[in-house]
């Protein structure tokens, strides 16, 4: 009887404990709310939210709140104010030097190691633009590859068989495709190399010319790297051929880049340097446009096929509240082949792991395939990652805009001054003040 009573008591205790545990489990089942900030908006934001919902379905212990239209200003302000979300992403890598250098975005190295994530999963260029100073503070979340878009209808009208591969061909085709009004103003432009127009920035144009920014010691060497002078000279000659003022006036009458009035989409420019995402924009806005995509023409044959690469980066801010859960999501969204392929299909950005570029889930698209090849090309490159962040490339762009306007009389002397300015800027950003 005593044994029976003892057994009954044990059963009762066990049941009570199970009940408590079950209650506790129910209590803990309340999902952790993760806030994710991204730069996308409209159609692209909806695609990312769909992806987040898929993650949430598979991971009911977290609840994702995705906020779009975020830029770097907002990210820095939030980190500074201690109100940063759990996960942050930036549209490009220009400020990685700042995020990693200051610790604003945490170093992901230990989390990657703990999860068995190796940098070898990502192509070298994306690895370069997601680190600085030995800190891996971001991972690529899809990538952007830049190439040439050309209007096949306008090419046929001008009697041009295919896209140009060399600078000489590009120059000749651009001139053939340009149409002027009776007063000399521009009606249609072959290619607009004006820095500041749409996606035209020096770092995207210089790659097919073989230009680099720094020497082995990390000092700016635009004056001695001959590609810069060659590209800038060609660019100025083209602008002078159009007429600087003609081109400015022509551009003032063009539609917004990210609208259905985009100059390439409406046939105002016959060729355009643009990112792979334009494929999705054209599909959505002008599905009947007869166009092709190709790598940018290059100065030397060996560089043909390469191009500029950059892309969205994602990381965890230093004062994020749920680092482990945030990492789980970051890991999934940046390394899961299915997730990357699905998101790539939705917004037509390049999937950013080597494995995902070969995913069978990727919807075949002849226009988009060009950018997958550019992304995989070992000679493709990206922007320099420096402590001074975006202001480094902005300074180069500032110089190029003055040059194209004819305000720089001596190109070499101008580049020498620019090199000094860039080095001084980096020293200043590192906190050294005047070098």
């Amino acid at each position: 009887m005593k044994r029976v009573a003892m057994a009954g008591a044990l059963v009762a205790i066990a049941l009570t404990a199970a009940g408590v545990a079950s209650g506790a489990a129910r209590h803990h089942a309340a999902p952790t709310k993760l806030t994710v900030w991204v730069g996308w908006s409209a159609r692209e934001l909806a695609a990312f939210k769909k992806l987040a919902a898929e993650y949430q379905k598979a991971n009911p212990d977290v609840s994702l709140s995705v906020v779009g239209s975020i830029n770097d200003d907002k990210i820095v302000a939030a980190i500074r104010a201690g109100t940063a979300p759990d996960v942050v992403s930036s549209f490009n890598s220009y400020n990685v030097g700042i995020y990693c250098g200051t610790g604003g975005w945490i170093d992901l190295s230990s989390l990657m190691k703990q999860s068995g994530i190796s940098t070898s999963m990502f192509p070298p260029t994306t690895n370069y633009y997601t680190q600085y100073g030995g800190k891996k503070c971001a991972l690529p979340l899809l990538a952007d590859a830049y190439g040439l878009y050309y209007n096949k209808t306008l090419f046929k009208k001008a009697g041009i068989a295919g896209p140009p591969k060399t600078i000489a061909e590009l120059t000749a085709d651009a001139k053939k495709l340009t149409i002027r009004n009776s007063d000399g103003s521009l009606k249609q432009v072959g290619i607009d190399p004006f820095i500041g127009f749409y996606e035209n920035v020096p770092e995207r144009w210089i790659l097919p010319w073989g230009g680099t920014y720094t020497d082995s010691g990390g000092k700016a060497h635009l004056a001695t790297n001959s590609a810069w002078a060659k590209w800038l000279t060609w660019q100025k000659q083209m602008i002078d051929w159009y007429g600087y003022k003609n081109l400015v006036k022509f551009q003032a009458g063009l539609g917004d880049e990210f609208s259905a009035s985009n100059a390439f989409e409406v046939g105002k420019v016959a060729m355009n340097l643009d990112g792979e995402w334009r494929v999705a924009f054209i599909h959505a806005e002008h599905p009947t446009l007869d166009y092709g995509t190709a790598p940018m023409p290059s100065a030397t044959p060996s560089l043909y096929g390469s191009g500029y690469i950059n892309g969205t980066i994602i990381g965890i801010p230093k004062n994020g509240k749920h680092t482990q859960q945030a990492w789980d999501f970051v890991k999934w969204v940046t390394t899961n082949t299915h997730a990357l392929a699905e998101f790539s299909n939705a917004i037509k950005n390049v999937p950013s792991t080597t494995a995902s570029t070969h995913s069978k889930e990727l919807v075949p698209d002849v226009h988009f395939a060009t950018f997958l090849k550019i992304f995989a090309n070992p000679k493709s490159g990206t922007s320099p990652i420096e402590a001074s962040g975006a202001s480094y490339t902005n300074a180069v762009q500032n110089f190029a805009t003055k040059w194209q306007a004819g305000q720089v009389k001596d190109l070499h002397a101008g580049l020498v001054t620019l090199d000094k300015q860039l080095d001084a800027q980096v020293a200043q950003a590192k906190g050294g003040g005047v070098p």
Partner: protein, 296 residues
């Protein structure tokens, strides 16, 4: 502690002292400020290639816009003071632009002055005139901003109008009896009587010129075609075209909030504070020679 002292300390004294401290540090907004002494000031005055461009642009704006604003506000006030019919309507028409938010007004100006599609150049072309590139041309961008500034001169005009209407009629009658013509009455009666208001308008105009930001920021962004790319930090639209609208506060904003160098931006702000104070002091001290206060 009196409420004003609390307000002064919290909203003015503390930010001022803290800015002065930050100007002597390397502060990137994300890590703690690090003491660098006067390095930011040395960089500002000896290396930053944009500093003197911004200073020149700001001085140009003050030198051109402030006199034109004062003259146009005064001229309009004189005309409105003389109007006999439709006074209310004219006052409303001339004051109305001052109610337009600066961003909306700037967007409107960039639109109507668009060299390719704007109505101004379209009308000019019908008259056989090839219009300028306005906000797209470095030699026209600042004059375009001046036009915008004059268009919105309503607030200053109202103050001038009140001052002009406040001049005692007896002074004009006495001058007229002494044989003074319209120009002499303006020179010897109106101007001395409203000189404190002129001083006020000049000081206010100069301070606003030193802090000129919103219109330049919006005009450059829209004219450069970058307005829709809020997330694109690579856009070098600040100062577009060719740094012609890069005013000192715009450069300060760029360093502080685009380049994230708040220590350096604080040094720029301290320099701006000193210059503002010095310029105001010079104007006020000089004004003793030409401002006639009622007490004298």
């Amino acid at each position: 502690m009196s409420p004003w002292l609390v307000g002064f300390s919290v909203f003015f004294g503390y930010p001022l002292v803290f800015s002065a401290y930050l100007s002597l540090t390397h502060y990137d907004l994300l890590s703690s400020p690090r003491w660098v002494g006067f390095a930011n000031y040395r960089y500002l005055f000896t290396i930053d290639p944009q500093t003197w461009t911004a200073v020149r642009n700001t001085l140009w704006l003050i030198g051109v816009l402030v006199p034109l604003q004062v003259l146009s506000a005064f001229g309009l006030a004189l005309m409105l003071a003389r109007a006999r019919q439709g006074v209310g309507i004219f006052r409303t028409i001339f004051y109305l632009p001052a109610l337009a938010p600066p961003v909306a007004a700037t967007l409107g100006f960039v639109f109507i002055l668009n060299p390719a599609t704007g109505p101004v150049n379209t009308i000019l072309s019908h008259l056989g005139i090839s219009g300028p590139l306005w906000f797209q041309d470095p030699s026209w961008s600042k004059p375009s901003l001046v036009l915008l500034g004059i268009w919105g001169v309503g607030n200053t005009m109202i103050i001038f109008l009140a001052a002009v209407l406040d001049v005692p009629r007896t002074l004009y009658e006495s001058a007229q009896l002494d044989g003074a013509g319209p120009l002499q009455r303006l020179r010897y009666v109106t101007l001395p009587s409203i000189s404190p208001v002129i001083l006020f308008a000049v000081v206010l105009g100069v301070i606003q010129g030193l802090q000129y930001f919103t219109q330049a920021y919006v005009a450059a962004g829209v004219a450069a075609g970058q307005a829709s790319q809020a997330a694109d930090v690579t856009a070098v639209s600040l100062g577009y075209p060719l740094d012609s609208t890069l005013f000192y506060p715009v450069l300060l904003y760029q360093h502080g909030f685009v380049d994230f160098q708040m220590g350096y931006a604080s040094a720029m702000a301290m320099f701006l504070l000193v210059v503002s104070f010095a310029v105001t002091l010079v104007i006020v001290v000089n004004s003793r020679r030409w401002v006639h206060s009622g007490a004298r």
